[in-house]
Amino acid sequence: MELFEDYQPGRRGAYDEMFQDGRLRGPYQGLARSFAEVTGPEVRARAEALAASYLEQGVTFDIGGEERAFPLDIMPRVIEQDAWNTIDRGVQQRVRTLELFLDDVYDAGRVFDDEVVPRRVVTTSSHFHRVAAGIESPNGVRVHVAGIDLIRDDNGDFRVLEDNVRVPSGVSYVMTNRRAISAALSEAFASHRIRPVQSYPRKLLAALRASAPAGVDDPTVVVLTPGVFNGAYFEHALLARTMGIELVEGRDLVCRRGRVMMRTTSGLEQVHVIYRRVDDEFLDPVHFRADSMLGCPGLMNAARAGNVTIANAVGNGVADDKLVYTYLPDLIRYYLDEEPILANVDTWRCGEPDHREEVLDRLDELVLKPVDGSGGKGIVIGPDASRAELDELRAKVVADPRAWIAQPVVQLSTVPTLIDGRMRPRHVDLRPFAVNDGSKVWVLPGGLTRVALPEGELIVNSSRGGGSKDTWVMAGGRVSAPSAAAPPVATVDLHSPPPETGPALESRFAQQEQQQQQRAQHRSPRAAGAAGAAGEVPTC
């Protein structure tokens, strides 16, 4: 365990997922054993091979125009079965609530009349699109894919930090990470029972097909990407490839008489479902930004006419707004009549006078986040900020309080991470992905664990230099005995002939055999007369 020397978990009160007071926690015992069997240099060599293979495969992320390998840490993160069950149920509950909320917002607005959420919270959101009102997908789903960001607090409980129901990204890394780590740590893999993640594209495609316009038996589904210069282009390509569908850009599409068509070598072909990875504002220059070249003019009208389904639906941004987030526990109670399974992180809304006052008083101990921000942009962590930064922040909050929320500094949990050849605690979060096909919300077992690589850093976004970890959800002990339903040994009904061998190999093996026999001073007449037996037709 040379790798774990001087490992000091739980600094600043953070929950360490592997060690508790210097002792291993249960879920990590198997992994610790596997790591103990491999030497430090070997682990480091494998970690290097990992990075090289990511560059080769083109698993990259674009930071400021530079293509970099997405950093993948060799140490996986393990989530025990019980904790996962809670996450699974909690994420489902959350997605169902967000669906109901979006339906309501773009329809009758019951939630405003019943004064659960003030109407202005939604109408002042820059993601609220009136044009989306009344557009309903045939199976009623607006959130086909959701990514719910979770963190693990000081007590080891998972809490929701953020919902993503517009175009959550990162799922491709879940799949590539699994493949890469299974190659790098095959011993550890074989001794764990890890729930597989490769079924995601199939589930997603099934959900997209299920949302096709009524009456279309065999819908054409496409992925819409902004193009090769987008940071997540790798993911768009991977999803299209693994679903076996076309990856289109805006210029490949054209709207004719309320239908969306794509230009193919055999003329125009109608598209029924668009899994779009383009933001709302760029989707349709007729309704949104007129200068957008990424979308397709007429898309919204086609959707309104019911000839095409856009997934995720336009206007979903109101539901993952950081301000609406603060109302989510109330919304869960209101729509589902259930208690939230996953708690929020405590949050103050600067838009409310009494909250604002408290926040301004405690600016140096809180984390302030812009309501519209994503990718960790604009976040100010009070204790780490300088006097000048805080003054600037204060001015901004006073000028536009609606745009800010505040949260206490939550120490994200830590997991050992290979830094400069040694394991060191680094903060992680977790983004599980949920796919809604209209009848069931399915949560991909695992999800993307992002890790902040600089010491003490709490922002994990890859645009801020974060890396990732393969996330293992355990499923109990590995099956060793064949199940009753399966035939015990398959060889019974199988008689594959051995592969034939040509003269070259025949003589090589014969030569080996002869040499062995010579050595044993035991030449059988048959081997000695091998040349004489020439011409025998092989019997296969």
Partner: protein, 312 residues
């Protein structure tokens, strides 16, 4: 062209293809056994060994996962291993060295050198499998770029196509037999490098029957059985000097053509009811066709080197 050279070409084609296919099969089988918690490893290893036609050690000890894969990859004394296949390709190439293009000989020889240098043995298995696939591509690409399309080329491609049909049949048999709740077909498709093209062809709706159909009958995918058989038939037809007015004189061509026609003209439902049996028959056809080719074209070479089945 000398019979002996022709035979060498034929076996270069077969061995290189065998090395590639074996590495493909081992690669995905290993991924599957490692990643899928529902797979019963012991039964999986046994199925794999018997499908590859490898010998199953009868010392009563349980087969270890890594031990088995290491043996199938690196063990030169195991006839079905990758090491053996590459060794065989190089041995065959050595016997035809004067007719092979220099470049062709060099890529085969350097592949063999690297493999026997010990560096290959220290590679991690997934890397080793990938390396073998890449080397096979280099060899095939060099052949494609530097060999004239004469008889030698026909024999090379004939060998490759026969081996490919045989290996795909073995793979199809594995997935029909793999126990466990999860379908083995995605894995099989991946082993053939066919997963993505299959998804595109069938618009992402994968069912077992369609996967079998694709691997057996697709006319466009180069690793499907029908494609490989058609290719082999073409080579045989090209080798037949004069045009044939009535039927087929060549025994191998007759065997392959009949099997292909049977596959293509029977309903897929009929074929999948006894997939392992069908695949076994197919493998035997390939073996018989290979014998027929040997009888007809390489008769002399056999007399000079055949060791009377001493290896078995």
């Amino acid at each position: 062209m000398l019979s002996r050279i022709a035979e060498s070409m034929f076996w270069i084609g077969r061995y290189v293809e065998r090395a590639e296919d074996t590495s493909r099969i081992l690669d995905v089988q290993m991924q599957m056994m490692v990643e899928d918690p529902t797979v019963d490893i012991d039964a999986g290893v046994l199925t794999l060994l018997s499908v590859m036609g490898a010998r199953i050690p009868d010392d009563g000890k349980p087969l270890s996962l890594t031990g088995t894969f290491n043996r199938m990859a690196f063990d030169g004394s195991e006839v079905t291993s990758i090491a053996s296949a590459i060794g065989g390709a190089r041995e065959s190439a050595r016997r035809a060295r004067e007719t092979l293009s220099t470049e062709m000989w060099e890529v085969i020889n350097s592949t063999f050198r690297h493999m026997s240098s010990g560096r290959f043995r220290t590679m991690r298995l997934p890397d080793a499998f990938k390396w073998v696939r890449e080397r096979a591509a280099v060899i095939n690409g060099t052949a494609d770029a530097t060999m004239s399309r004469d008889e030698g080329w026909q024999f090379l491609v004939l060998g490759r196509s026969l081996e490919r049909a045989d290996m795909t049949a073995r793979l199809v048999a594995t997935s029909a037999l793999t126990p466990g709740p999860n379908s083995a077909w995605p894995v099989t498709l991946r082993a053939c490098g066919a997963y993505q093209s299959f998804l595109r062809a069938y618009r992402g709706q994968e069912t077992d029957r369609e996967a079998a159909e694709y691997l057996l009958l697709d006319r466009l995918f180069p690793r499907s059985v029908v494609h490989a058989l058609t290719r082999a038939e073409q080579c045989l037809a090209n080798l037949e000097a004069s045009g044939q007015r009535v039927g087929f004189q060549d025994e191998a061509q007759r065997l392959l053509g009949r099997t292909r026609a049977e596959l293509e003209y029977r309903s897929i439902g009929d074929i999948v009811t006894d997939l392992p049996g069908e695949m076994e028959r197919l493998q035997r056809t390939c073996a018989s066709a290979s014998d027929a080719v040997t009888q007809r074209y390489f008769a002399h070479a056999v007399a000079m080197t055949w060791q009377g089945g001493a290896a078995r």
